[in-house]
Every structure is written in structure tokens, then in C-alpha cells.
């Protein structure tokens, strides 16, 4: 796994984080349990990780979530910041396989992307987040696991639909178009 970290990655993290923070308030509420809503910013992060790799994905998740929380909600819920980075890192690890920039994001890659994102979200929200909640805040286990499961569901839905769509769209932009001909 080649992990390049040049200027492009620095800027990708910067602009990616800016997008992530700007989208913090753009939410599609899901239900009553706090801190859970469909978050388009998750789809964005999943997409960036899939294009730029684990470092960009992880740091956008970490900085974006911490900064977004701090600016909009005046608190930083570290137990939910770190899992965000986990999702970015795990999806990013497979960036080369998705070949989004080369226009190779087809059925096989879409399936792989979704398997990876479901696993990444499972690890992050069903394992890491609840454990951190228990360790840090001594919150009741059944509550944090329910919350985590809820976040897991919301995130796999939004990344699965919106994240996949963005990746397909961007892949088409980068793709070759040599076989085009004008029609009458």
C-alpha cells in the first residue's frame, strides 16, 4: 500500500474538511435518538476516502467532525470523532482498488465499496463508538449500542446511496470517452 502525502493530499484534506464542516448542518433527520440523522457529509467523506486514500479519509473525518462539532454545537464528542476517522481510514485503504479517478468504478468496484463501507461503519459505530462512550462517559451499554446501531444504519444508507452515486458520477467524469460519435 503506497501512501503518498504531497501537496495535493494536504489541499484535499483542507477543502474536504471545509466541505465536511459546511455540510454539518445539512441533515436529513432520522429519528428521536440524539446524534443520529442521515448525514450527507458522511457520503462526502466516504467519497473522499475512496478517491484519496486512508490518510485523507481519516484526517477529514477527524478534523471535520471535531471542527464541525465545535463550531456548530460548541462541544466536541471525542467518542464520535474517532470512529469517524476509522470509517475514513478503512474505506481509504481500498482506494486503489476502486479506481475512481481512472474511470474504473463499475459494478465490481461498487459492490466492493459498499462491502467495505458497511464493514467500516460496523467497526466504527457498533464497536469503537459505544466502547468509547462507555469508557469515557460510563454511559449505559444498551443505550450506546442502540445509538451506535442507529448511526451505523443511517451511515450505511447515506454512504450506500449518496456516496456511491457521487463516486459513480465522478468516475464517469474522469473516464475515457473515445468511443463517442455524433448522432443525427
Amino acid at each position: 500500500m503506497k501512501s503518498k502525502f504531497g501537496i495535493k493530499e494536504v489541499v484535499a484534506i483542507g477543502i474536504g474538511t471545509a466541505l465536511f464542516v459546511a455540510l454539518t448542518e445539512v441533515q436529513i433527520p432520522l429519528g428521536f435518538i440524539p446524534n443520529t440523522a442521515l448525514q450527507p457529509r458522511m457520503a462526502l467523506m466516504g467519497f473522499l476516502a475512496a478517491v484519496f486514500g486512508p490518510i485523507v479519509g481519516g484526517i477529514v473525518g477527524l478534523l471535520g467532525h471535531a471542527l464541525g462539532d465545535a463550531l456548530f454545537y460548541g462541544s466536541v464528542w471525542w467518542s464520535w470523532v474517532f470512529p469517524e476517522a476509522v470509517v475514513g481510514i478503512v474505506i481509504g485503504l481500498f482506494a486503489a482498488k476502486f479506481a475512481i479517478k481512472d474511470g474504473g468504478f463499475a459494478t465490481k468496484e461498487i459492490v466492493l465499496f459498499n462491502i467495505v463501507q458497511i464493514v467500516a461503519n460496523a467497526v466504527a459505530w457498533i464497536v469503537v463508538a459505544p466502547l468509547l462512550d462507555i469508557v469515557i462517559y460510563a454511559e449505559p451499554a444498551n443505550k450506546v449500542f442502540a445509538q451506535g446501531a442507529w448511526a451505523f444504519l443511517g451511515n450505511i444508507i447515506i454512504i450506500g446511496i449518496l456516496g456511491t452515486l457521487i463516486a459513480i458520477g465522478y468516475s464517469k467524469i474522469g473516464g475515457k470517452s473515445s468511443s463517442l460519435s455524433k448522432e443525427d
Binding site: 489541499v11 483542507g14 477543502i15 474536504g16 471545509a18 459546511a22 436529513i28 440524539p34 471542527l67 449505559p140
Partner: protein, 275 residues
Amino acid sequence: MSRVLSYEEKDTWIHRLSGVTKLIFFLLWSVTSMISYDTRVLLVMLVLSLVIFAMSKTKWQQVGTVFKFIMLFLCINLIAIFFFSPGQGTKIYGTETPLWHLFGHYTLTEEQLFYEFNVMLKYLTVIPAVFMFIVTTNPSEFAASMNKVGIHYNVGYSMAIALRYIPDVQDDFSKIKHAQEARGIEMSKKAPFVSRIKSMASIIFPLVFSSMDRIDVVSNAMELRGFGKHKKRTWYSARPFKRNDYLTLAFVILFVIAAFIITFRDGSRFYNPFV
């Protein structure tokens, strides 16, 4: 009242502190309040937070909206804890002192009340620290501060770029949203779920793709001006350390050590008044 927290220039000793000092203070303060469940420590922290907050001359208008939001969130969370686990307090403190039987197996106990009071304290002690950090630290100093506490300047500069482009991206977002609304795409809450995601896609697509172009422009501009040339870099807006910075750091480090000693002296992170 501002919807988002933002830096406001003022001249207090807190504003004059280096961003590094405030970042370290903020991080240590957060860690302490996360780990300690000692009511006495948390209460002292809360009082100190409020004192510092008052000294920063931060006005209610700067933080009011955000504060109300947190309070709402906190209440929901406290109620949720009770409904999920009314016996969590008993589990932690080992005793059961029922106060009021509600229904089914939901009984309000003194232990539960005390436990949730501590949860509340933990949140409340962090809020002024976050407010302070955001409202009194010039964003220009963020990157320099992160670099100084040992984070590579690449990441520090990513942060600077993020802060630089947040307003631009927000602006793009509302421009794109308006143009798409004019084409007939509605963000209405009444719309069915799938069409809401589709509408969202029609805004996010152009936003993300034009941002991808921007990544190229900005990285070219940075490269042309020598970014990444050396292993280190200096910062125009870094604030040099002064006496107050050392005093503040000394204070927070001593405080954290004391807090940890008090918290863990009896072998548990919980302060237990029930035994």
C-alpha cells in the same frame, strides 16, 4: 444572535495568550473532564470554567444560540439514559435508594439522579472550554499552534485551508441550492425519502465536483509558492510565548495532576457519596 461560533477580536489576557497555550489547555481540560467522574473535581472545573468564561468578556449573543442547542441535546440525552437504563446509577454506586416509582420497572433512584447529574457536569465543564477556544483564538493561529504541539505542518496547514475555504464552500452551497430550487428541485421535508436524497444529490454533485477542480488550482498555487520545500516552516501569525502562557500551562498541568490524584485516590473514577 450568531448561529455558529466564531472568533471575535477583543483585548483580554485570554485573547492575548498564544494559541498553543489555549489548544493545550483545551485538550487537557477535555481529557480530564472525560476521565474523571469525581463530582468534586467536576464541580471545581465547572466553577473555574465559568470564571474564565466571564473574564474573556464573551457576550451571550456570541454563544447563545449554540448554547441553547447543547442544552436541548443534553436534556434529550439525560432522558434517553434513564429510559435505556434506569438502574445505571445503582450499578455504579452499588446501592439503591428509590425516590419515586414511575411505571413498570422504571423507578427513579437517588443513585440514578446523582449519576446523571455527573453526566451533566461532564458536559457542562467542556462547553465553556470549547467556547473559549473558538471565540478567543484567532483562526490564523490554529495551524501554527497545531504545528507547535508536534503535529506535522502538513496537517496544520490542511486545517488552515479548511478554515480559509469554509465560507467559500458555504457560499457555493447556497448558490447551487438556490439555482437548483429555481429549476424546481425542492428540499421540502414533506417529500418522500428517496426524492429527498435525490434532491440532495443534485446539490452535492456540483458542489463536490467543482471543489475537486478547486483542489487542483489551490495545490498548484501552493506549489508555485514553495509549499513543502523544507521539513519545517515558520508562521506569520504565530504568537510568541509570554509570561502568562507559562503561568497558564503550569496551572493547567498542576490542576490536571491534582484532579487525577483526587479522582483515583480511592481506586475508582467515581466519587461515591452513598457508601
